[in-house]
Symmetry: C2
Subunit: 332 residues, 2 copies
């Protein structure tokens, strides 16, 4: 016969009130928590989270909207997010938006129908209009990686503009003034990085031809085609910054296929310190986001919104990115 | 005021029975489905999947246990699985086992507590003991990528032994007889690949030193350390097979750091046709699993188990892998 809450009472000696509080996600003393969890395991007591969800109005499930689950950056963030959520007893319901704003919008509805307690968003959309149904349903939202311009949502990001300014300065200080940028110009994050690039050039009084600004949609193809075009210019740049992970990969591929060698013929700075940068030779200079810290902070903030410990207006938390040195910059 | 099912009736002219059937996940005519979905959207009717789940005993949620969400192979499979599930109105509750059997076992309980309708498993554990609680709860399970030896679960995989036999033969036919293998020897998939390697060598009457068999746990490190060790041997192999994606990456990194050049000094065959193999030069010979087809088939089978359309004993569905030609093998 299936174990009941009374069996847990008999086993632990605790009151039904305490056990019920635990089962409904309330705070109980660590010692009591341990006793209850042991009893649950020994008695094979089965928690019906679904029924519990209807009673507590909590599903202990967080929805995660990701722009592309095949993106390696996203996979790494999900790892850290999952760890932080699990430590707090939450599961992740992950929806892949496949880089499509319409799918993203449907996925949001899907998550709201499933009564998730909160939502983490790696957005495809360029503004937060699609999130208004979450707001209406009082489901807290925290944006990760991609903020919206002029919109009021909790957001965890890096200071993209400063990170790019510092990266560009690394090249300038090593004698480069023919510097190109391959960047995404269709979401906030990419545009901030573009601004940081322009800041550095203008601080140093450097003018570059327009052909050195290669802008498009965040992708492997952008990096690949962008780098190819740059290397075929009558006067190619001596250094190229690839402003996100996928673009970095594509750019490296184009260099490998060309007659150019890095750093002899072209210096490179890439983005995001993931596995790829360990495999590629020469070791790349990399703008590295603190992914684990960002993930932890996002979960912390979202859970505080859910529990109403954090009640104020939207917070934007900016981390600063590190720059990891490599062998991909030549001194001119 | 919130819209009710009666408002949908008034809007669509359909019967309450039809609308209710739709809402409970039943089959309705495509034309009616469209009418209902339009009405739901126009009226902002909110489906409470949670309450629906208690009534229908279906949560329309599939649990996915993955051994490591940072693994790029896993990320790609999740993309295809998510697409196939979404097309059928299912969500994915993804749990990351972080390569730890104990975490995997806890994650399973987590999914069962949440009353998922079925579970897809990329297993850490080497046998299916931990899955018995799913069986007890009558929740169908389909294994992906990693089967268990001698155990009875639905499973979607590639014919690993034949794939490796064919890959090894590619090297033998190009004159190689000093061939090494870096492989995982602790799960079924890795062991099948080892057998295919031995089959090919024995068919061709080739004897290799034991040092050419580098076995350990599926990882980047295994490939890196393994390749390093091989290249430092007094008589290094002329060709190395890296038998999974992470190991391939690690092996390539070790070659890049060494004085060896591929394919001049060492020929290489890797596994899994993912982004990385597009970036690495020379273009790698790759054993490529049909990831999209495997994912679709896994979802199809799991949903049939859930609906009891498929009632027989466990099925093992083996796809054959393709071998993609590259420039990483030298003719001797």
């Amino acid at each position: 016969m299936a174990a009941t809450i009374r069996d847990i009472r008999d086993r632990t000696g605790l009151s039904l009130a305490t056990i019920s509080k635990y089962l409904n996600g309330g705070n109980v003393l660590p010692r009591n928590r341990k006793l209850i969890e042991e009893a649950i395991e020994e008695l094979h007591y089965e928690v019906n989270e679904l029924a519990r969800g209807l009673v507590t109005n909590r599903t202990k499930t967080i929805g995660v909207l990701v722009y592309d689950i095949q993106c390696i950056f996203v996979g790494n963030m999900l790892h850290y997010l999952g760890q932080a959520l699990h430590q707090n007893g939450y599961g992740m319901l992950i929806c892949d938006s496949c880089n499509d704003a319409e799918i993203e919008s449907k996925n949001l509805q899907f998550l709201l129908n499933r009564k998730v307690d909160g939502i983490l968003v790696f957005a495809v959309s360029l503004n937060g209009t699609f999130l208004k149904s979450a707001r209406k349903a009082d489901v807290p939202v925290v944006l990760l990686d991609r903020a919206f311009r002029n919109e009021e949502f909790d957001c965890i990001e890096i200071d993209n503009r400063t990170a790019m300014l510092r990266a560009t300065n690394k090249l300038i200080r090593r004698g480069h003034n023919r510097i190109a940028l391959v960047a995404s110009n269709i979401e906030y994050t990419g545009m901030e990085r573009m601004k940081g690039f322009e800041d550095a050039l203008s601080d140093a009084g450097i003018l570059i031809p327009d052909a050195y600004r290669v802008y498009g949609r965040h992708s492997f193809e952008l990096g690949y085609q962008g780098m190819k075009g740059l290397l075929e210019l009558p006067e190619p740049p001596t250094a190229v910054i690839l402003s996100n992970y996928d673009t970095t990969l594509g750019g490296i591929m184009a260099v490998n296929e060309s007659q150019f060698t890095c750093p002899r013929d072209v210096s490179i700075i890439g983005f995001d310190d993931l596995l790829m940068s360990k495999v590629i030779r020469p070791r790349l200079w990399i703008v590295a986001q603190p992914m684990e810290e960002m993930s932890k902070r996002a979960v912390e903030l979202l859970l505080k919104r859910i529990s109403h410990e954090e009640e104020g207006g939207p917070l934007r938390i900016s981390f600063s990115a590190g720059i990891r040195e490599g062998d991909s910059i030549r001194n001119l």
